[in-house]
């Protein structure tokens, strides 16, 4: 290899002067592997003459002696070679390790990575999670330092909770802003879509840019307080068309769940703890018609026919998911690069009938027109999702508690072949969980379009000046209809004679349109100088407009319980004459003016200044220029490229070293989830049909509002270092520390009694302070033709403290446990947000908890609210790591992630862990419980009333390390099938988790482990073909 380069350099050194045009050909290959490179641009410098290499890396081009040939290829160092009349010119190109993420999107523009001044992390294709990936967020889980992504369970459309640096808001939204190809996505999800990131096919994603600190996010101002994730999709290429087809199939298994009792133990349990309920065990002998095995036992209440049903197994399945994507990247007439992809995804949840199907089409065209002065970037993405929103929550909950001595099926009963508990004609207790899934369909269809056109025009008369116009549309239409089948339990009611009435047919319907529009316009002026102190500078000013509109209506049905409503027991459509279609409508508008300047001093010091003024409709009562409507968000950042200094220039061990310092202020206004879209206007709400009072008049309620609401503001100071050690960049990474203060928090506060239309509303009150760090490391110790190994890891810590809560100490924030009004969670002055308020459990000599015995922390001889102590649920330490290994044609990779602290309240241990829970209040049927005989629960807990709920006994450590995926792949070279490279792989996702937690799953965003959709272990086989 080395000799080749040397002789090549020698060639360059010999000046040969020849005239006249001739043709040159050759092969371009990759320096490391020697494999030919396809699609390399070959251009005669200063002319329009160009070509690209073919599949074998060959090119042929006409050139004059003395011309300079430019070889360029994404991800490789560009080479310029003087042509000296050789007939063959073979080129080896070296990979530029920093090149793939060389240009980084930072909002209203991009910057070279080496010129970056803020804390921006890029995660691109190579680092993505692999295996069973249904939605885009899964690519990123555990991959970026300081980004915690917690899905809400294992359903295919599971909603992700994303927090960057922990989030700083108390009541306002703490989710980051997500920008997809230049379009910030809407505030509200379309009806029927839980995961907003399902609108991008994961296969289309090229990279994530994660903007963490305020100096980076300030340019996004209004929605950027909690960070920004910019998603960029793949674009077309120059050169010959490339086709890609990927296909995979996944089989998922739910694994074991909570240790509930089997039939035999349960009979023993009821006989021991509830002798008066023995008669409720099993069924009367011979009354049920089913094929399931049963056993007749003698109880104190006579003979009973007892089944052995594992309800969980009955509602779960081995689910199959298939995913196929076909894409083309090409360059039409060498002028219009485009990419088209079509994807089909059919996913099954592990809960039966939880089905999800998605079709995606994306189209990206990036032509350059008018002598390359006008660059156009057009994106269109179409997503069609249909899912059956099965009542998985109801079924999973029902499967836990349904009496295991009951059969699943009963052909004698009226309920469509399913057994269920009845008391005469009356349903008694829980619904048969399998019937719940099978007897109801709820297709939720959502069609969504996300598209934009960005025009970037360089003024021909002033090439330093560019104008950029971006127009985007995010529109969706959703349809939901819920239909009950014959014999469905959900629609079963009693008529006025006490006989059962089934109500098959439409039970609910909803239609919704969302229209979000984006418009950005900015002017950018940039100039470079060769030898001046200021090497380059650029400045831009612009305007941004975002509008969000949601409009929908619902068909609501109820069941007549009085003759005023209709025939008793039958379903009727609830008609509200004040709002006949049950319409809902809301709109929100955001507008901004912004500017940014970059300054490069001596190629060593980089300075970025930005400024943004934002207005939100949420703060507008009447006057758009009133106080508080506009927020001002400046930032400044400095980067010092230490490597460029003379004292480091020749230190070969250090390949790159850069220090970054930044400060910035960002704003937050998203409070519509708690106080609606018009929190500053006095409005009247029309009372619901069930909330009328005086006969003969409609009820109108004066809604609370708060004048003078304004922006929540976060100021962040960030210092970071980027480094790359050794010439081959064996170790690269970054380390960032930050300190953040958020003031004017949009917090729910108690208002002075009697002085407002309610007791508690959003106001700008309170302060939180956060600090933390992120560390990201990449190690590439071995990088040879046959064998390469790379490791990556990240570790982050963040802690937020409430330093002011508007003058008060404690604010309850929900977290209901059992029954009404039992709240676990608080925000508390001087503590982290999201505290659990619990009593300290007292234990007996054997280590058993003594029910309702707690430590009298304040020593006043009584146990009151004042004896609660507060402890944080959310983790401060998060990590992720993995490695990639290739050996010849094999590749092997794995990744892990987890948290080192955090707590979870195990509500199931309380709900099903007291002996009384077998006998519910509202019916005479009996419920399954945790197994008291093998330690899964402790029978000292007889009931769950009083303060037992707040015992710290149920609060458990939630540290865990999850193996995210293990992937093994094999690459067939193009010799296997000509002109085609193919990779096959097998992956397992979520094969194991290491944790002390003995509940369902320690990874729980809410911190309260209740009815949880299991995260399955998924086995995937896939194929990827490029041709």
């Amino acid at each position: 290899m080395k000799t080749k380069i040397n002789s090549f350099l020698l060639l360059l050194l010999i000046p040969v002067f020849c005239f006249g045009q001739s043709s040159v050909k050759g092969t371009v290959s990759e320096e490391d592997s020697g494999l030919p490179l396809l699609g390399v641009n070959v251009l005669v410098k200063g002319t329009n003459t160009g070509t690209t290499t073919d599949f074998d890396g060959n090119y042929q081009i006409a050139a004059n002696i003395g011309d300079v040939l430019v070889f360029s290829y994404v991800g490789f160092f560009t080479q310029e070679i003087s042509f000296n009349g050789e007939s063959t010119l073979n080129i080896q190109m070296a990979e530029d390790a920093s090149a793939l993420d060389e240009v980084i999107l930072i909002g209203y523009g991009s910057v070279k990575k080496e010129d970056l001044t803020g804390s921006v992390e890029v995660v691109s294709t190579k680092e993505f999670n692999k295996g069973a990936i249904v939605t885009t967020d899964q690519l990123l889980q555990g991959k970026a330092a300081g980004v915690r992504i917690t899905d809400s369970g294992g359903t295919p459309d599971s909603a992700p909770n994303i927090r960057i640096r922990g989030g700083s808001s108390l009541n306002a939204d703490s989710s980051p802003l997500i920008v997809i190809d230049g379009v910030p996505i809407g505030i509200q999800n379309p009806a029927g879509v839980s995961n907003p990131l399902s609108l991008v096919n994961p296969n289309d994603v090229e990279s994530f840019s994660i903007l963490k600190d305020a100096s980076a996010t300030a340019i996004y101002g209004s929605r950027a307080s909690n960070g920004v994730i910019i998603i960029t999709t793949k674009k077309g290429i120059s050169g010959d068309p490339q086709y890609n087809f990927s296909s995979n199939t996944t089989i998922s298994e739910a694994g074991s769940g909570l240790d509930m009792m089997g039939s035999e133990d349960y009979v023993r349990f009821i006989e021991q703890y509830h002798p008066d309920l023995v008669g409720s065990l099993g069924v009367d002998v011979g009354t049920v018609s089913t094929n399931e095995a049963s056993q007749v036992i003698q109880t104190s209440a006579g003979f009973k026919e007892v089944y052995n049903t594992n309800w969980r197994e009955n509602i779960l399945r081995s689910s199959i998911t298939t995913n196929n994507v076909f894409s083309v990247r090409a360059n039409y007439k060498n002028k219009i690069p485009f990419r088209v992809s079509l994807g089909h995804n059919k996913a099954q949840g592990v809960v039966k009938t939880d089905d999800y199907e998605r079709l995606t089409a994306s189209f990206k065209v990036t032509p350059s027109l008018l002598d390359d002065n006008l660059k156009v970037d057009t994106n269109a993405k179409f997503t069609f999702v249909e899912k059956n929103a099965a009542d998985s929550g109801g079924a999973l909950g029902g499967a836990l508690v349904f009496d295991p001595t009951k059969p699943v099926y009963d052909n004698n009963g009226p309920f469509g072949g399913y057994y269920t508990n009845t008391d005469g004609n009356l349903l008694d207790g829980q619904y048969n969980p399998l019937a719940l899934l099978k007897q109801r369909t709820r297709p939720e269809e959502a069609f969504r379009f996300l598209g934009n056109i960005e025009l970037n025009y360089t003024m021909p008369f002033l090439p330093e000046l560019q104008a950029v116009l971006n127009v985007g549309l995010d529109a969706s239409k959703s349809d939901i209809s819920e239909t009950l089948g014959d014999g469905a339990l959900v629609g079963y009611r009693l008529d006025e004679n006490g006989n059962g009435v089934f109500n098959p047919g439409l039970n609910y319907a909803e239609e919704q349109h969302i229209t979000n529009t984006t418009f950005d316009f900015y002017l950018k002026y940039g100039k470079s100088y060769e030898d001046k102190v200021i090497r380059s500078f650029d400045a831009q000013v612009g305007y941004s407009y975002q509008n969000f509109k949601t409009d929908g209506n619902k068909e609501i049905y109820a069941y007549a319980s009085t003759t005023d409503e209709g025939v008793i027991g039958e379903r009727y459509q609830v008609f509200n004459e004040n709002n006949p279609n049950n319409r809902y409508f809301n709109s929100q508008n955001l507008q901004s003016a912004f500017g940014r300047a970059n300054l490069n001093v001596l190629d060593k010091y980089l300075i970025t200044l930005s400024f943004r003024a934002d207005a939100s409709s949420l703060f507008v009562a009447n006057d758009v220029w009133a106080d508080g409507v506009w927020g001002v968000f400046p930032s400044a950042a400095l980067a010092w490229k230490v490597k460029e200094e003379s004292f480091l220039k020749d230190v070969r061990f250090i390949d790159d070293l850069k220090l970054r310092f930044g400060w910035g202020r960002t704003g937050q206004q998203n409070i519509s989830g708690i106080v609606g879209f018009y929190p500053t206007s006095p409005l009247f709400i029309v009372g619901d049909q069930s909330s009328q009072y005086l006969p003969g008049v409609n009820l109108y309620s004066a809604a609370p509002f708060q004048t003078g609401l304004t922006w929540e503001k976060s100021s962040t100071f960030n210092a970071g270092i980027d480094f790359a050690f050794t010439q081959k960049r064996i170790l690269t990474g970054f380390f960032d520390v930050f300190k953040r203060e958020t003031t004017d928090l949009l917090t729910r506060v108690n208002l002075p009694p009697g002085q407002a239309l309610t007791d508690n509303f959003i106001a700008n009150r309170g302060i939180t302070e956060s600090e933390g760090f992120e560390l990201g490391l990449n190690l590439n110790p071995i990088n040879s033709d046959k064998f390469s190994l790379s490791l990556n890891g990240n570790l982050s810590y963040s802690i937020t403290e409430v330093t002011d809560l508007g003058g008060i100490n404690t604010l309850p924030i929900g977290g209901g446990l059992l029954g009404t009004g039992s709240n676990l969670l608080f925000n508390k002055l001087g503590e982290e947000p999201y505290q659990a308020g619990v009593f300290k459990q007292v234990y007996d000599g054997q280590g058993n908890p003594i029910p309702n015995a707690f430590v009298d922390l304040n020593g006043d001889n009584q146990i009151t609210e004042e004896d609660k102590y507060y402890t944080s649920l959310r983790p401060n330490w998060n990590f992720g790591f993995g490695f990639n290994l290739t050996y010849n044609n094999f590749d092997f990779s794995t990744s892990f992630r987890g948290q080192l602290d955090g707590k979870v309240y195990d509500l199931n241990a309380l709900s099903f862990g007291h002996t009384e829970s077998a006998a519910p209040n509202n019916n005479t049927s009996i419920s399954n419980v945790l197994n008291f005989y093998n330690g899964a629960a402790n029978p000292v807990f007889r009931d769950a009333i009083g303060n037992i709920l707040y015992s710290d006994y149920f609060l458990k450590n939630a540290s865990f390390m999850r193996c995210e995926n293990i992937v093994l792949g094999y690459n067939f070279s193009d010799k296997f099938i000509k002109n085609t490279s193919m990779r096959i792989y097998a992956a397992v996702n979520n094969p194991f988790i290491i944790t002390d937690y003995d509940g369902q799953d320690p990874e729980n965003f809410e911190g309260i482990d209740r009815n949880f959709y299991p995260r399955p272990t998924a086995y995937t086989f896939g194929l990827n073909i490029d041709f």
Partner: protein, 525 residues
């Protein structure tokens, strides 16, 4: 071409100057006052309906919605009245605990952080500014509003203040005049609150009108609130006003046109809107007025499918009979104590209709453990079904109106005034009224010799328990605190024990003290 592009950019910029107006977004479902008044000729009564509803419903969007930040199910006004007036007193207990309810039931360990005090306090101070807001809105609106409607709003505000005076004894005086001020209002004393409410009621009494429709306030409802205020004046202000109470009670008796309903149970049944006795009801409806805090709380809370069973000859089994009370749910929470049903003597032999309104089967007379459902008899005074109707199914929400004020209360209050020496109340009238109440319940008459204060507090117990008056009554008779009168679980012991006098008032909720630094805590907390 280049020029076209430039023009395009310039043109694109223009419309966005006017786009700034888009920041003023307009709702389409919610209404501004002007839209409301333009759309609905009955708009004002619609807002008034809301104020009435604030004593029974939790919010405008169904029983799961809440006007205040507190739990929609637990926090409605009437539920607060039942919790604080009845469960803290002798006759009723609840077993749930619910993170603070135990402390009410056992009159022990009261603290400013107990959410149940906050619920009532927040409902009081929700209703008052809502009234103030409407008074201001009406004053500025383009429509003219009748004097009687304005009087009704002022009555509702006074009713809310009455509960502030009675339960908390201090607070700010929020009026339509200081509504909207951003400065913290000063705290005023119980005496000042009393004077304000008295002045208000006296002002509206002559102008509110004698009949504004069902469920609405009129002259006699105002008279009743005035009488309640005067009857308790000695507790509230230190000055007895029994004669003033008797004046307005007499007016209700003579001019109100109310008469005792022949069947006592009718007053607590689904068709009690037809009762001739009820002066002021809080309306409930299983369809149109749903709440977890109106009579639904009383009916469902008192029932249980475990113990409310009857033998069914068809199946040969004991089966739940909640539907016989028109109910679909039994929450097994509330039971009466022997301090209530002990007042009737032997329940099995008593002729008193009121003695028949306890479910004894499967329950113990003595409440050894208030958390044990079967300890104590549930009250079946309230039910969802109409009188004389035996339903075959029940509703989840009750349709029985809550009789906040009714004539037998008037009679017993009058008798009390007479016994306490009101100059304008004769003992012979008092005896007649008391015996009318007793005879209606098929109970024997008493003689003048029997008519003393001890008799009256007991008769009030027999007649009015679980109607939201008991704690106030016990305080007025000096029996609530101290050790002179004990009941099951008073002071957190099964037999009852003395509790401190500071318990005559509830603590001011910590959330209120935090929100207005001018507020002070009651003595003893």
């Amino acid at each position: 071409m280049k020029r076209i592009i430039l023009i395009c950019f310039s043109l694109a910029l223009l419309p966005f100057m006017s786009c700034v107006d888009d920041l003023d977004t307009e709702p389409k479902i919610e209404l501004t006052l002007d839209q409301l008044l333009a759309d609905d000729p009955n708009a004002v009564e619609g807002v008034l309906s809301r104020l009435y509803a604030s004593f029974a419903l939790s919010g405008p969007n169904g029983p799961g919605s809440s006007d205040i930040s507190d739990d929609a199910g637990e926090s409605p006004f009437l539920r607060g009245i039942v919790n604080l007036q009845d469960f803290t007193a002798d006759g009723m207990k609840n077993r749930w605990g619910d993170d603070g309810l135990d402390q009410l039931t056992t009159t022990s360990q009261w603290t400013s952080n107990n959410k149940f005090f906050r619920y009532l306090y927040n409902r009081i101070y929700y209703t008052i500014p809502q009234c103030n807001n409407l008074l201001n809105v009406l004053a500025n609106a383009s429509v003219t509003t009748s004097e009687s409607i304005i009087s009704e709003v002022r009555f509702l505000r006074s009713l809310a203040y009455f509960y502030l005076i009675d339960a908390f004894g201090r607070g700010v005086l929020a009026t339509d005049e200081n509504f909207g001020t951003s400065e913290f209002l000063p705290e005023v004393s119980r005496q000042q609150l009393f004077e304000y409410v008295e002045t208000e009621l006296l002002a509206i009494e002559p102008i509110i009108g004698n009949n504004n429709g069902y469920g609405r306030a009129n002259t006699f409802v105002v008279d009743m609130l005035l009488s309640k205020l005067y009857l308790n004046a000695e507790v509230y202000t230190g000055t007895a006003r029994y004669s003033d109470a008797a004046t307005y009670l007499t007016k209700i008796i003579n001019e109100g046109g109310y008469s005792l309903e022949p069947n006592f149970i009718k007053n607590f049944s689904g068709d009690n809107n037809e009762s001739s006795e009820i002066i002021y009801p809080l309306i409930a409806d299983p369809v149109n007025s749903q709440s977890y805090g109106n009579t639904t709380y009383i009916v469902n809370g008192s029932l249980s499918p475990d113990t409310f069973k009857e033998f069914n000859p068809d199946t040969g089994q004991d089966e739940p009979i909640l539907y016989k009370f028109g109910a679909a749910e039994g929450w097994q929470g509330h039971r009466a104590t022997s301090a209530w049903y002990g007042l009737y003597g032997d329940l099995a032999t008593s002729t008193d209709v009121r003695a028949s309104l306890f479910w004894t089967q499967g329950h113990n007379y003595i409440m050894n453990d208030y958390r044990e459902w079967t300890d104590g008899y549930p009250s079946i005074k309230f039910r969802n079904n109409d009188l004389n109707d035996t339903p075959s199914s029940g509703t989840s929400f009750s349709g029985t109106d809550f009789p906040l004020y009714r004539l037998s209360d008037v009679y017993l209050m009058f008798a009390e005034c007479a016994v306490r020496g009101a100059s304008n109340a004769t003992m012979s009238d008092a005896l007649d009224y008391v015996n009318m109440v007793r005879n209606r319940a098929a109970e024997s008459s008493i003689t003048m010799a029997d008519l003393d204060l001890d008799f009256i507090i007991d008769e009030r117990g027999r007649e009015l328990n679980l109607e939201g008056h008991r704690r106030t009554d016990l305080i007025r008779f000096g029996k609530f605190t101290g050790g002179s009168y004990l009941w099951p679980w008073k002071g957190n012991t099964a037999a009852g024990t003395s509790i401190p006098d500071s318990y005559n008032l509830f603590p001011i909720p910590q959330s209120a003290l935090d929100a207005n630094p001018n507020l002070d805590q009651n003595t003893g907390y």
